[in-house]
Symmetry: C2
């Protein structure tokens, strides 16, 4: 008899529990270790992963990129007309920006198509919805991602030349980011509505709200956004799906200046009432701030840091710092959410919008522990919220001490998603999301939690491995 | 041999662990139960306690009182001159109200004496601090507790006739409560300062801030305070020592109306700037709302519900619903806190102010789970915050579903302190507190957590037992 079978066995069982069960059945003991193969058993991806982990250039690049992200200091610098400040719009060309990775007009989802028609009407490029559709069909309106123009927009994410935008500047590196204004809830352009009242509201934002805020900002000087977001995270917001505190703090900061600078009391009151009525007003600023922080970390050769996650209503797209302007795409995962009465998953558009830029920057779903109200809204508990935030530590390069989570004793949020860790550990970035109706103009029909699809990260890691060359 | 010593023993050991240890030493087993005698072993208090627990009238009365407290709906109804609305001031008599249970001028602590001198100067009853002191020494200024006039004030709690007050009304029962305006931090009257800038700020509040808010309120209609406090509790406030969210929400509500109604843009801007600069602005409204809720529960014969806890800088006082206007007093417990650099416990005034009305109403320290920033400030953790809120359930008649705690999965705050349970279980109400310097005018020198002294509750229970008559 071999010695192995005479001695008492000390067994550690890795992975499938069945082997340990057999040993136990034979009267032995085995310690089970929960394990699954890296890259979910995809052998090619596994090799690519191994290569990116073995190459010190990736870690070096990540240190550089992550430091640039952490050091970014986004401030609200100005309010301007999109056509005046966004690259490629100043030329007077018919350009409309949309959310997510690139997508052609015929492939777009209902809400995005509806919103583009609305933007054409707003710009006066057509005088009816039919005429607007024909104009876009003809190919004479350029449709490009916000992200290709340093911009971000929630849901359909439509930005056209006459719309006002927030100009956010990262004072550390000088890069700028833009976002449109939040219109409020209900029938709004970002959910695909383009009725007359929707267009009129957009005009009011452009002619009244934006200039009033711009004038106030001129006396306030640049408004630092990071401390404001940090405060809001300590007040129940995760600055993606909940912005009640951030909006109130912004309002409090602006009101005295608006009062001092507005053309008239009526204009001042109208602008303040508009902000007061919309607890999501800050969302677009949060997004632009996150975009400015992440753009600072973009373009670092060999870095596996994720610099953008975004949805166009069909595909989910991811960008890596070390992979230039490439998008790594996959069909969007469904949203695990609760629907408003009368609606169900069958009514839902696919995951949509640039707002996952907040999760890319370590807030939103990553900061769920800050906002238990969000998980409650989708049927979870305060403990679930803590777990979401803790789990994200497994896929990030570190934590961001500027954004703290009170319920975790003021630990920093997990931030700086490392695409390698996502693939290696099989942990997907968690994203808080509103759910849009798939028909244009119906609006929000629910909210929930979703994840970025694994295929985006696998593709990104493979591309990164390739760019590293032979080992 | 007796059967007891032949059989194997099943032992439950209640209280002192020494007995169980002896059994274990002899090779036996004993289950230990943590227990201590009710009323901390005070036999007379224990009998009184037993009598109040045995009498069904107490439970019946508590049900009535607690329901009145829960059903109260405090709204901000008006802003008025104290002398015009507070009972006993309208007569033109020289009356100054102070925090806590009654106390005579020579026994008052430094900050309270300093604040009273300031109020005399503000009223123009004397033209120098010395003259003011002589006037009060002469006995020609009446000094009475705020609580005797349906009012509350933080720290020294001084209210004199020309000061503006918030008029809060419980629309369910019609009772009203009053509070003065919060002056901000630094050298302020409520910490005993009475220099010229302090008096000038009080005049500005009376001539500019108060009328501007009063006019805005006239167009807003009554502002419901319970939903506002509930929102703030979901935004990191406990509405005693942290009021950042509540102040921002109040500001957001008032700003457009202030703009629409103010005499001039300058006045509107000045009033809004004053609120914007003080994150504690809402505290006094929170206190008046709590006072209105608790006064609704007062005067229910045989009820052991605590309707007021308050400190005059020397003694801590407690009132019971079933014990009329009586105060049950004891020297205040020290505050277990952190001091600002350069200060220590030797510099601290004793526990001071009517603001413990918030804990009496189930917020403040009772809602610590809502505001982990508060415990962090005094060296605790988020878990400590949860424990404070959970422990308070042991001494209350129930929870208040109107005020929820996100970190405890939106459970209602423990509310309606039952004096019997405090004495029976030896659990003291936890109170969040600022710490004042014992010299007038220095201001706040720290913050911390303190408890109401047990002797107040023991005395209250004994009085209640007496009032029930022979068993």
């Amino acid at each position: 008899m071999k010695p192995l079978f005479k001695d008492s066995l000390t067994v550690v069982n890795v992975g499938l529990a069945g082997f340990a069960a057999n040993i136990a059945a034979a009267g032995g003991e085995a310690v089970g270790v929960d394990w699954q193969p890296p890259a979910q058993g995809d052998q090619e991806a596994g090799w690519a992963l191994a290569r990116t982990f073995a190459d010190a250039r990736v870690d070096d690049a990540n240190r550089v990129a992550f430091a640039r992200f952490l050091e970014a200091n986004p401030v609200l610098r100005d309010v301007a007309r999109a056509g005046d400040v966004i690259d490629g719009m100043a030329s007077g060309r018919k350009l409309i920006l949309h959310a997510g990775p690139p997508i052609v007009w015929p492939s777009m989802c209902g809400p995005m198509r509806g919103a583009i028609i609305g933007a054409v009407l707003l710009e006066g490029w057509a005088d009816s919805a039919d005429a607007a559709k024909r104009l876009v069909d003809s190919g004479r309106v350029a449709l490009e991602p916000c992200h290709h123009h340093r911009a971000v927009g929630p849901m359909a994410g439509i930005i056209s030349p006459s719309m006002p935008v927030f100009v956010v500047e990262n004072t550390t590196a000088g890069n700028r980011a833009y976002s449109n204004f939040n219109e409020g809830l209900g029938k709004v352009l970002r959910f695909g509505a383009h009725s007359r009242d929707v267009i009129e509201r957009l005009r009011f934002i452009a002619t009244d709200v934006a200039p009033t805020l711009r004038d106030a900002l001129a006396t306030l000087g640049a408004v630092e956004l990071k401390p404001l977001m940090a405060q809001a995270l300590n007040m129940g917001d995760e600055v993606h799906n909940r912005n009640a505190a951030a909006t109130a703090l912004l309002f409090k900061r602006f009101a005295p200046a608006v009062l001092a600078t507005a053309e008239s009391r009526e204009r001042a009151a109208a602008a303040l009432r508009f902000i007061d009525a919309n607890d999501h007003f800050f969302l677009n600023l949060s997004m632009a701030a996150c975009k400015a922080m992440l753009d600072a970390a973009a373009g670092v050769e060999s870095s596996s840091l994720v610099t953008a996650m975004s949805r166009n209503g069909v595909n989910f797209g991811v960008r890596l710092s070390g992979a230039g302007d490439r998008w790594f795409e996959a069909p969007a995962n469904p949203v695990d959410g609760l629907y408003f009465p009368g609606f169900s998953r069958a009514d839902a558009a696919a995951d949509l919008g640039d707002s996952a830029i907040t999760e890319t920057a370590g807030v939103g779903g990553f900061a769920m522990a800050a906002a238990p109200a969000i998980v409650k809204f989708v049927g979870g508990s305060a403990t679930d919220a803590l777990h979401h935030s803790l789990r994200m530590r497994g896929i990030t390069l570190g934590t961001n001490a500027s954004f703290t989570l009170p319920a975790l004793d003021f630990a920093g949020v997990a931030a700086g998603i490392d695409a390698r860790k996502v693939v290696d550990r099989g942990i997907l970035p968690v994203i808080n999301s509103g759910i849009a109706h798939r028909e244009p103009g119906v609006g929000q029909i629910g909210a929930g939690v979703t994840t970025a699809p694994m295929a985006c990260f696998t593709a990104a890691v493979r591309a990164l491995a390739e760019s590293l060359g032979a080992p």
